[in-house]
Assembly symmetry: C2
Amino acid sequence: MAVKTHKRPSPASRSTQPQLRPIGVLRSELKQRKGAPRQGSEGAPDAWLEVHPFAAQALDGLVPGDDIIVLTWLHRARREVMKVHPRSDPNRALTGVFATRSPDRPNPVGLHRVTIREVVGNRLRIGPIEAIDGTPVVDIKIVLDCHKDS
Amino acid sequence: MAVKTHKRPSPASRSTQPQLRPIGVLRSELKQRKGAPRQGSEGAPDAWLEVHPFAAQALDGLVPGDDIIVLTWLHRARREVMKVHPRSDPNRALTGVFATRSPDRPNPVGLHRVTIREVVGNRLRIGPIEAIDGTPVVDIKIVLDCHKDS
């Protein structure tokens, strides 16, 4: 059973237009894409995820120690790129971006599995995460163990 | 090193507007959300992922047996919902949607980890997947093992 917060759901609220509305923003010491780790496991730092007020109550239930998947909008990515040399290595064969984790792809949504270190109001300290400062966040999903069913 | 397909990248191509452009659509025997499994592991069927021609070359390198994460736009979800009773069970406490896997959430992007069964041109047979027929697909990401680095 779903509980609405502001108004009755209407057919119009079931948008068929895939327009994202950022629910927060990442605050990180990583200021530019160049030099940033390619994966969180490659020495990335912790960062703060600031959730915008309109979505703050959707955090209810998250606690330190939880593993979450943060979905970001990689706003510096190039959306027209369809093939890349993996790891930017010209010796590696050109590969379709769907067979890689390149940020350059038609819809540059980043997935970042991180641990919640701290919850302070509408801010989460999370990590490790390789996304750069100012990256818009579009969703947060709890990681489910096989037998956990929420 | 990224390779462009059609034109030079320009600053304007680095969109800051999080507007998704579906890269494909799911063709499934599941025709409605009601009654669909909540997770792929709960008895969901295989389905066909039809990739639109503009993105077909981004599939290059994917082969049967690969595990991928399919990102969908859950077009039937209610975006104004911030809290839910997990598993639609009224006996369970209201919980923020970010602490659940409810499809109802501000940006209803679905994550589905599936295996590629077959590749036929620009179509992938994948599964198991609980998303319903007609669900727009917005991205495909190869699953990386810890020591695989593409």
